[in-house]
Point group: C2
Chain length 297, copies 2
């Protein structure tokens, strides 16, 4: 398994065109960087860099690998921003609470963007379920919250910042991948599904949508405690599930999961920012709302 410093080094060499300057950027000496890069090339058994006597250029392979590496590093960046926000949630200048879906997939990006505009700003993030988020906003423990509709309380101001959608997904080997007709609400309600436990936001949205389509509740084939557990079960072939497209976007685009069309049922749900009504958001909170709002819809 490669290490992140080496990947960063590769990207920097590509950007700066010189091993020595890349080393400086990382705060190590040139020989150390030289060795690191050789080690990475040995590990991947690929020639990534074309070393000339005046500068280094990426080889075609190096170019591609460097791009893949950048994607890795972007995710790491999100993790670090998120972690910083999590640990700062007590004494931050801007305190935010978010439900799981938002926290997992969107919050690190938004916070990262906000901090790019104001590097000195400390943002605190607290992750709970939508109900607790509402409580935290009411009690003033946080400045603003992000939740999934339905069930936005009337005593809070809110604004829709994005629209999520639940998708029916199956493994590529599942018979549903070969069907031409979309799945009907009745069929969905009658099919045993891999689901989250009752009370989770995703499960609740599904049940409401089924009820709105005049169908009975979902038949649980397997009840699991986290979205990723459900995802793994579906990939392993356990059966169909209904999951947020935010959670399975890469699985879909890379073919690990396949979306099955549905009709006659509305599986969208709005993601909303909420804050104490009457008040107008100011300062960092307003900035965050603006960032969240323009990225989503």
């Amino acid at each position: 398994m490669p290490d992140l410093e080496s990947l960063r080094l590769l990207v920097l060499v590509g950007e700066l065109g010189s091993l020595g300057r890349a080393a400086g950027e990382l705060g190590i000496t040139q020989p150390a960087a030289s060795k690191r890069l050789s080690a990475l090339e040995r590990q991947l058994r690929l020639v990534l860099v074309d070393r000339t006597r005046r500068g280094s250029r990426l080889t075609p392979a190096g170019h591609v690998v460097s791009d893949w590496a950048r994607r890795v590093l972007d995710e790491v960046d999100g993790l670090l921003t998120g972690a910083a926000a999590l640990r700062a949630h007590r004494d931050a200048e801007l305190r935010v609470a978010a439900s799981m879906t938002v926290a997992e997939h969107l919050a690190p990006g938004w916070i990262g963007e906000l901090r790019r505009a104001e590097p000195a700003l400390y943002v605190g993030l607290q992750v709970t379920n939508s109900t607790s988020v509402v409580e935290l906003v009411r009690s003033g423990e946080v400045d603003m919250g992000f939740i999934e509709s339905p069930s936005i309380p009337t005593d809070l101001a809110y604004r829709r910042v994005a629209v999520d959608r639940l998708a029916v997904v199956v493994a590529p080997t599942h018979p549903w991948t070969r069907r031409r007709r979309p799945v009907s609400p009745e069929e969905l309600a009658a099919t045993p599904l891999v689901v989250r436990e009752s009370g989770s936001g995703t499960r609740e949205t599904l049940e409401r949508a089924l009820a709105a389509a005049r169908c009975g509740p979902a038949q649980p084939l397997l009840e699991l405690g986290s979205t990723t557990a459900v995802r793994s079960a579906v990939i392993a072939g356990a059966g169909p599930a209904v999951l947020s497209v935010l959670a399975v976007a890469t699985d879909l685009s890379e073919g690990r999961l396949v979306e099955v069309g549905v009709e006659g049922i509305d599986l969208r749900r709005a993601l909303c920012a909420v804050w104490p009504s009457g008040r107008r958001l100011v300062g960092p909170a307003a900035a965050l709302l603006a960032i969240a709002g323009r990225a989503g819809p």
Copy 2:
């Protein structure tokens, strides 16, 4: 910067519910895992795991971080699969050539998916421009290729596997983020843009689309040699650019870049699999085509 082994360990602890078993999975001893995890927690200054005397559970924070970590590891997985394919391209059982856009964003996922179905299969990947891909397919050096339309030669069989779209993107601070009306082709042609060099697929698609809308060629504000260089320049505020949505998907969803609407110009381009005509693809090549085909459209 955290290291990937530690992130993997965290994910495994969440899945297996026990530090010792997670250690076994990684091929290290339990004390080593214990130390690693403590180090990670110290580094992030977060309590990630709730250690009881019979098993370990993730804390709420641990849960979120573990999900972020999984995203990182997924990207690493893509990098490793891609690297394996790159180095195997000479003597692989299935040899594939792909243009940059496909190789960067889609190929690792497809190949990974294929290898999940047939773990013993060696897949070779070669990355060049669309013209070379066509040559490699013609000469039989590769079994199949992936290119961007336009310019699919008539002597090859092809199938559209996905549709890419170029988007006009600007930094969040750019005045275009506040405009209400979409950009017209004339306006786009008249505005200095950050672009790739002439001859690149992206540039070519843009020029063709402008020509189809009866406009002159794009005005280069800055010409750069790689998509990521263009992306960085735009984020830094250099000016608008026209980039593949595949390349900027995360930037858009996380608010680093903002898409500006356009009208009267068709910036879509099909991504196609190509192979020697007359022949029907069989075996692994057919499987790969199926995977690519179902993920895309």
